[in-house]
């Protein structure tokens, strides 16, 4: 059921078994997993059912590093950032979980095998209608799904499956409404997670609304699921007992913030015949009830051999290249631009003729080939100096705002540049295409061309409390009944969108918590 927190009388104390802070993909998933169990759940959500500017403004903050939008990259109402999610789903690669000698601070305390049992359930929750991410021959389609036969072992075709995208707030609202053991408190902001005196266990949550009333939630177990930035902020704000913040005894909370730098034009492709590129590479392609899309990723052996980080690339057709340059129908006001376009066309035509002189067949008509564009998202190396701290500025609730100092590194850029070069080898070696490398080599990377609104890493998992904030079960080191859900626990990011994996982790956490409740140890002392 839903409760408007603004109607809860001042000073009320609510006892519950499980408090979940945040009604986004992770929080709603865990709450649903507990529906119709004997466990009392309080799901505490800052917003209501619709976007509200005053609530959203609680996300505003200070930027210290690479420019970023703190309030524009996430949404603060029921359903969270799934309310603007694009729906791209793919599990992390097996290698993403491993400690890679060439990637400092890499290595999850769990493996892909640990998460594999939960991906199918996550796929169902994200309404994917398939979990066949890697076996295109297994797709139920009359047309064989044949990946491009690119040369070498460096580049591989992989597949995303699309969520509709699932707006968790809309799709799963009825489930929460119906669940008698789940109370979702809307318009309710947790001000602090207050631990016991020894800071070894959560005692209570201080909650307030923008309207001014406040109340307390007394949980046996708490899941913090407020998103990849807010999770760290909430731990840092919870400093009345542990003055550095909860779980921050090793100064790890907020560090290692990572994104997926998105580069809109890292490369161009010239290809002799657009028909060589199956439709599934170019756009969202329905296969029965599922919708998929092919992309390029880099093989584990290539990444290990060369010491690179991963990149995922998609591409799309842009324009036909004919033998002769055709000026725009309405002309071009700028003669210099026309000359530039003509020169570019002539070079394109020359390259296509060169391809057709050796590795491809001669042109049969005046169409020499096609130019395709590429978009990409890249992994960045974990960096302890890329971090979330508290700003001196206060929000409407009187809480310190977020200060985000996002850092990119020259090595991140080198990796991406070299991956584009590997793509050039793969296409050139195949023979039907050539790559124009538009992402330059850089010693430093100080400005982001784009990002994915993927907030990761700032409460990372690690077996060793000195290396991370939470353990392999996502329980905060040193606190017996506080868990963290969401992509903030990722020690490394992989290259693909984080939502499917964070939902899988949420299902896994729900299983873990159910076992704990069943064994009668929701808040045992560590």
């Amino acid at each position: 059921m839903f409760v408007d927190g603004r109607q809860v009388p001042d000073g009320t104390e609510i006892e519950t078994d499980l408090a979940i802070i945040g009604g986004g993909a992770a929080g709603i998933t865990i709450a649903r997993e507990f529906a119709s169990t004997g466990v009392r759940v309080a799901l505490i959500e800052s917003g209501g059912f619709e976007f509200d500017a005053d609530t959203q403004a609680l996300y505003e903050g200070e930027i210290g590093g690479v420019d970023y939008t703190l309030d524009g990259s996430r949404l603060r109402y029921f359903g969270g950032s799934t309310n603007h999610w694009g729906g791209w789903c793919r599990p992390l690669e097996r290698q993403d979980f491993e400690k890679r000698d060439w990637v400092p601070h890499s290595g999850w305390p769990i493996t892909r095998d640990d998460l594999d049992p939960y991906y199918p359930r996550a796929a169902e929750i994200c309404q994917l209608h398939s979990t066949n991410f890697d076996d295109p021959q297994g797709w139920p389609t009359d047309t064989p799904v044949e990946p491009l036969p690119l040369a070498g072992d460096e580049v591989m075709t992989r597949f995303f499956i699309y969520s509709p995208p699932t707006r968790f707030g809309e799709v799963y609202r009825p489930d929460i409404e119906k669940a008698e053991n789940v109370s979702c408190y809307l318009h309710s902001n947790v001000l602090e997670i207050v631990p016991t005196e020894n800071a070894a266990e959560v005692d209570r949550l201080r909650v307030a609304t923008l309207q001014g009333n406040s109340f307390t939630v007394k949980p046996k177990t708490v899941v913090l699921a407020t998103g990849g930035i807010e999770n760290a902020r909430m731990l840092l704000l919870s400093n009345s007992v542990a003055t550095a913040g909860l779980g921050n005894q090793n100064d790890m909370v907020g560090r290692y913030f990572m994104e997926h730098p998105h580069i809109p034009y890292p490369a161009d492709i010239l290809i002799t015949d657009e028909k060589l590129v199956p439709a599934f590479y170019r756009t969202y392609t329905p296969v029965e009830k599922a919708v998929m899309r092919g992309c390029f990723m880099f093989s584990p052996q290539y990444l290990e051999r060369t010491g690179r980080l991963g990149t995922v690339m998609t591409f799309y057709p842009r324009e036909e290249v004919k033998t002769a340059y055709t000026p725009p129908k309405d002309g071009d006001a700028d003669p210099d631009k026309t000359a530039e376009k003509r020169a570019a066309h002539e070079l394109d035509a020359g390259i296509l003729q060169a391809i057709r002189s050796s590795t491809a067949l001669p042109a049969k008509n005046d169409t020499l080939g096609w130019r395709f564009g590429i978009g990409c998202a890249s992994e960045q190396q974990p960096n302890p100096d890329s971090r979330i701290t508290l700003s001196e500025e206060k929000d409407a609730l009187g809480l310190n705002r977020t200060k985000l100092t996002w850092r990119l590194q020259g090595s991140d850029a080198t990796s991406l540049h070299q991956n584009v070069r590997a793509l050039a080898r793969a296409w050139g070696g195949w023979g039907e295409g050539r790559i124009r490398i538009l992402f330059p080599e850089r010693e430093e990377w100080t400005e982001a061309e784009g990002w994915g609104n993927h907030h990761m890493g700032s409460t990372r998992m690690a077996a060793d409390a000195r290396q991370g904030v939470c353990d392999a079960d996502c329980r905060v080191h040193g606190i017996s009944n506080l868990y963290i859900a969401g992509s903030s626990v990722y020690p490394t990011t992989g290259t693909v969108n984080p939502t499917l994996t964070l939902v899988a982790l949420a299902v896994r956490m729900a299983d873990h918590l159910k076992t704990r409740f069943a064994n009668g140890m929701p808040g045992e002392t560590l």
């Binding site: 070079l347 035509a349 020359g350 003729q353 060169a354 002189s357 070069r421 080898r425 023979g431 124009r436």
Partner: protein
């Protein structure tokens, strides 16, 4: 008047020819019969000599290229011969040989950038050869000084 109209290029060619004439016995003995017209055989591999010449020209403008027809011809021919090519090979065989060389270049990361297009070095060398020959055809001699020196003289009997 006719003498006065001699271009610098033609003067250099004549000078080169004089040097070449004195070297003919040696040059002929060292040259292989198929090298006669070698550069034409090579650039005939390409579908559109003018179009690919533009790539070669751009490469040279960007500072990456060679400006010597003979040296480029020899370099490319050597690679092609290693793939079983000869100047009288059927077009299909020549294309196949070139394709193998191009693929090997990419496999070996032997790429050059032309306006940031990552291309096979061998292919771009062939484009450069086409560019130099196009210049020759057009009677433009901007690069002739370099080409018509010692190596140009050695190349004279072949062309």
């Amino acid at each position: 008047m006719a003498d006065a109209n001699l271009s610098r290029r033609n003067v250099l060619i004549l000078a080169g020819a004089a040097v070449a004439a004195s070297a003919i016995p040696l040059a002929v003995s060292m040259s292989e019969p198929e090298q006669i017209g070698l550069e034409n055989s090579l650039t005939d591999l390409m579908a559109d000599r003018d179009a690919i010449a533009l790539i070669g020209r751009r490469w040279m403008e960007e500072g990456g290229g060679h400006s010597n027809v003979a040296a480029l011809s020899r370099r490319i021919a050597k690679k092609l011969r290693a793939e079983g090519w000869s100047p009288d090979a059927a077009p299909g065989e020549a294309r196949a040989a070139m394709a193998r060389i191009v693929r090997a270049d990419f496999a070996n990361d032997d790429m050059v950038l032309v306006d940031n297009w990552a291309l096979s070095r061998s292919c771009v060398e062939l484009c450069a050869l086409a560019a130099l020959m196009t210049e020759d055809d057009a009677g433009e001699g901007a690069r002739d000084g370099a080409r018509d020196g010692a190596e140009g003289a050695a190349a004279a009997p072949h062309g």
